[in-house]
């Protein structure tokens, strides 16, 4: 190899040290104890100003919207976000920036932010990112998933084969290495142990054993990587149900710090096998962001003006609306 190995110039926002993480995990409670609480209490107890926060799901799909709203409502400050397929989650959290509530997002590990896939870009999230008040480091979706995986494995780094040769690498905090066996150039990526992880699942028992139907995206690794984990679930189920089919448990209780039962907790996102996304509401949210004054009224109504997620669901049409989305999910509305 004649060219020297290079490294990205971006800042690293999370300590990749496996030894430091082990010291934390040594003290993390392991007993099967009741962790049921409200989203409000969970966010109060487990999300602190300055924390590194990772949100599961895939953008608006199987998103813990309830926790994102509550983080905004409690006006948490100076957070670092993992921008792993962050779509509506980033859009919700960006409501804590440039809206007179201080600065919620201070730093972001960016793989996918400010966009909502085919739905377009979020005007407010763009304003936030273009304002210069948020620092960022670049990554790719797989690499952020692999950074959780490295942490879930109890390591300080993993090798991958992407990002090499690009500006994405240059603005990351990754480093080139050579494979000790083949001499091939690889990218070393630092483990990411978030201070708090947030995931939404189909079913959980009160101890935190979780089931997910459909794609898991990066949630099983994110759950294991996180020092503290908040789980919201569509349905709380008896622990006997969990034990009757342990093959289906994808996140075990000892990763979990809070279990919150939030039916329709992924709204307006899609919850597979439960309800489809509310595209009208998402379109409205995107449109209203064009006008900062209207947008402020919007979040004052939908986030700051309600005390919890159930009230937000009521504002959005309540059960009749959700029933419609359930029919959409199961294609029961076709031909009507």
């Amino acid at each position: 190899m004649t060219t020297p190995l290079s490294h990205g110039d971006g800042p690293l926002y999370a300590d990749p040290s496996a030894n430091h993480a082990r010291e934390f995990f040594r003290t993390k409670p392991r007993a099967l104890v009741d962790k049921l609480m409200s989203v409000k209490d969970a966010v109060t107890c487990f999300v602190h100003d300055g924390d590194y926060v990772a949100v599961g799901g895939f953008g608006a799909d199987r998103l813990s919207s309830a926790v994102c709203h509550e983080i905004v409502r409690q006006q948490k400050q100076n957070l670092t976000l993992s921008g792993h397929t962050a779509t509506h989650d980033f859009q919700i959290l960006a409501a804590g920036n440039l809206t007179g509530h201080g600065k919620l997002i201070a730093r972001v590990d960016a793989a996918y932010i400010i966009g909502l896939e085919a739905r377009g870009l979020s005007p407010h999230a763009r304003r936030v990112m273009e304002s210069g008040e948020v620092e960022s480091t670049e990554w790719s979706n797989y690499v952020l998933a692999a950074r959780f995986k490295a942490a879930a494995m109890g390591l300080s780094f993993l090798p991958v084969r992407s990002m090499l040769g690009t500006d994405t690498f240059r603005h990351s905090a990754a480093k080139e290495i050579l494979c000790p066996f083949t001499g091939d150039k690889l990218l070393a990526i630092p483990a990411c142990y978030p201070d708090v992880g947030v995931i939404h699942v189909h079913e959980a028992d009160r101890f935190g054993n979780c089931r997910i139907r459909g794609t898991t995206v990066a949630d099983p690794d994110l759950a294991r990587a996180s020092k503290k984990l908040i789980v919201t679930c569509e349905r709380l189920i008896p622990s006997d149900d969990i034990r009757s089919d342990p093959t289906r448990t994808v996140v075990p209780f000892y990763c979990v710090d809070a279990v919150c039962e939030v039916p329709f907790g992924s709204y307006p996102g899609n919850m597979p096998y439960e309800y489809f996304s509310d595209e009208e509401h998402l379109r409205h949210w995107l449109e209203v962001e064009n006008d900062p004054v209207e947008y402020k009224k919007f979040i004052d109504k939908y986030i700051f003006g309600v005390s919890d997620f159930a009230e937000y669901l009521q504002l959005c049409g309540g059960l009749p609306r959700l029933q419609k989305l359930r029919q959409e999910e199961f294609l029961l509305n076709r031909g009507r």
Binding site: T85, E138, N141, R161, G165, D167, T215
Partner: protein, 255 residues
């Protein structure tokens, strides 16, 4: 009669070989894969980045992770599993896009402007594009053809094409033998020169001239001889596309 989007989708569908694998997203690439499966490539296997494998789509997905992407799929797995299947060398094609593309097929989806810390326009970033472009054997780009998009130098090299030219991907450490394959636009189909790795025109769409392509391209673009003309969509292709693939005209309505 057909519109440019319908033609682009047909061109993309024709490129996908039967029995091959493709990592697709939402929109036109998804429509292309669906059309291919209903025409020459019934055994085309589709993968969605969030974890859906070989679904039988009941309708167009809105998100690469929504429940349609694993509707009657053979497997609903993790993003890492799909990406590592690509990293292992099992993915033949992927469809990508971007705000800018350069002569070597490098893509920008991160920002417009000169200062990373104060972008003129902030865009979403790589998403899974950098990974897919690094791992998959052949990169396909479906995009509209205009000078702001086809630029000599991208403001930010988000996703690797041939980087700085021949041998650059391998020198960077990317898996050998991978790289940009075709760019399909509303004007033409481009490939890459075997030795220079620069974009070149392979096919002009019916009624389009090389001059028009050059006028809409922000860098000098050559044509590979013999320069071909794209076959227009067949009646069968159009019927399947309109009746089965996109009956609500979500995608082809944009053409």
């Amino acid at each position: 009669m057909y519109n440019p989007m319908e033609l682009m989708i047909c061109c993309a569908a024709r490129l996908l070989e039967n029995g091959s694998t493709v990592a697709v997203g939402t929109g036109a690439p998804c429509a292309a894969a669906m059309l291919a499966q209903r025409t020459k490539a019934p055994e085309l296997v589709t993968f969605y980045e969030a974890g859906g494998v070989a679904p039988l789509l009941p309708t167009m997905p809105i998100s690469v992770g929504d429940s349609r992407t694993f509707y009657r799929a053979v497997m609903a797995t993790s993003m890492a599993d799909v990406m590592e299947t690509c990293q292992r060398g099992m993915m033949d094609y992927t469809f990508l896009g971007g705000a800018q593309i350069d002569p070597f097929g490098n893509l920008n989806s991160t920002m417009i402007g000169k200062d990373y810390k104060k972008p003129k326009v902030r865009l979403p970033g790589s998403g899974g594009a950098n990974d897919l472009a690094s791992f998959c054997w052949r990169i396909l780009v479906l995009t509209n053809h205009d000078r702001r998009r086809f630029v000599e130098k991208v403001d930010f090299l988000t996703t690797p094409g041939y980087l700085t030219g021949p041998g650059a991907r391998e020198a960077a450490g990317l898996p050998p033998g991978t790289g940009p394959y075709r760019v399909i636009t509303d004007l033409a189909i481009m490939g890459y020169h075997e030795t220079t790795k620069r974009m070149e025109v392979l096919n002009l769409h019916p009624g389009i001239t090389l001059e028009q392509v050059q006028a809409n391209t922000g860098f000098v673009i050559a044509a590979r001889e013999p320069l071909l003309t794209t076959a227009p969509p067949s009646e069968a292709e159009l019927r399947i596309l309109r009746d089965e693939v996109d009956p609500l005209r979500y995608i082809i309505g944009r053409g």
